[in-house]
Symmetry: C2
Subunit: 206 residues, 2 copies
């Protein structure tokens, strides 16, 4: 007599990820971010197909759509958090830190587009204030302003918005194949630093 039904073993947290299961879960989450980034109305069947997984397998891992989306969001945020971790943005000059950050985030590609491309998802993120990733970014911005590296007159919240928007643009262009990733990253950094104007007479700011 079998006591446990087939399918992924969810009881307890003892085994975090057993080989096969881990890989399947990965594949599904990756596919979800990729597919949903491009089409918010994609069906579960679309996602399963992209993950090269049966639709029933997908349901085995994520009982319903909401759970899948939540998990994919969480996973994507984790990816970004790790990219941010590796960029060590609390170290060195703020300008350099920002460069590392932008480069790292452009590399996060689809996941960025997925999470921030959909206002609906975006709005119901675990309170912005509480998100450690966001805190770190804001901290960097404020540090940069204090150091005199970033525009002191601009609202930090605005700068954060700009940062995400430009990184998003870079990630999107890279994902779309408009330009190779490293070029996109370089452009992002360059634009962050000087806008789109020529070196000399650019900022005739009021």
């Amino acid at each position: 007599m079998r006591t446990t039904p087939p399918g992924p073993d969810t009881r307890g947290d003892a085994r975090p990820e057993s080989g096969t299961r881990g890989r399947t879960r990965r594949a599904i989450l990756d596919a979800a971010a990729e597919v949903l980034a491009r089409n918010r109305r994609a069906t579960l069947a679309d996602i399963a197909q992209a993950a090269e997984v049966g639709r029933s397998t997908l349901h085995r891992y994520f009982p319903d759509r909401d759970e899948l989306v939540s998990a994919a969001v969480e996973d994507s945020l984790a990816h970004m958090a790790q990219a941010l971790e590796e960029a060590a943005i609390d170290q060195g000059p703020a300008l350099d830190a920002m460069r590392r950050l932008a480069t790292a985030l452009v590399g996060a590609g689809d996941r960025l587009v997925f999470v921030f491309g959909d206002p609906h998802i975006f709005e119901q993120l675990p309170d912005e204030e509480d998100d450690p990733t966001d805190r770190q970014v804001l901290a960097l911005i404020e540090r940069g302003q204090a150091e005199g590296a970033f525009d002191p007159e601009a609202d930090p919240v605005w700068i954060r918005g700009v940062l995400w928007a430009l990184v998003y643009t870079g990630a999107e262009m890279a994902a779309r194949g408009t330009m190779p990733r490293h070029v996109a990253a370089a452009n992002t950094v360059r634009t962050l630093e000087r806008g789109i104007c020529a070196a000399g007479g650019g900022g005739t700011a009021q």
Copy 2:
């Protein structure tokens, strides 16, 4: 005996928009852009409700979802085209033209978010190359580079991407109430001109 069924009169193009019908159509298109900008999975019922219109009325104007979306996209593009027209971006110094353009577009708000926020919609726009709006924007960028106002080393396509991204950010913040519209527009222009760095030591490009 009545020969014409109730509902909007679509025969011929004689009468472009009879008062009531025009207003209803407007309301639906506005609501569609607004609602879809915030939630791509919104249902027709959601849109009808936002437009303060019965679901059957909505169907009367737009037989199916695809037609509604197409019409809403077209309408939004028309709005932007008009904003662009009013900005007269082919006149005066490129820098000034860009300021006018950015300001005008931030004002387009939801419509911008609607059209450019969804890669799925965005990708199936009438060939980018053929879109006159886009041509004008690219022309402005190239003119700006020729005039020495815009960064001559940056790819015009990249600059266009940046322009849309920052305008989008401004529009979103205004729509979300984070800051009043005119502040958002000012921030957009300022960032376009000088990035996020302080005036003096900013662009230590590479």
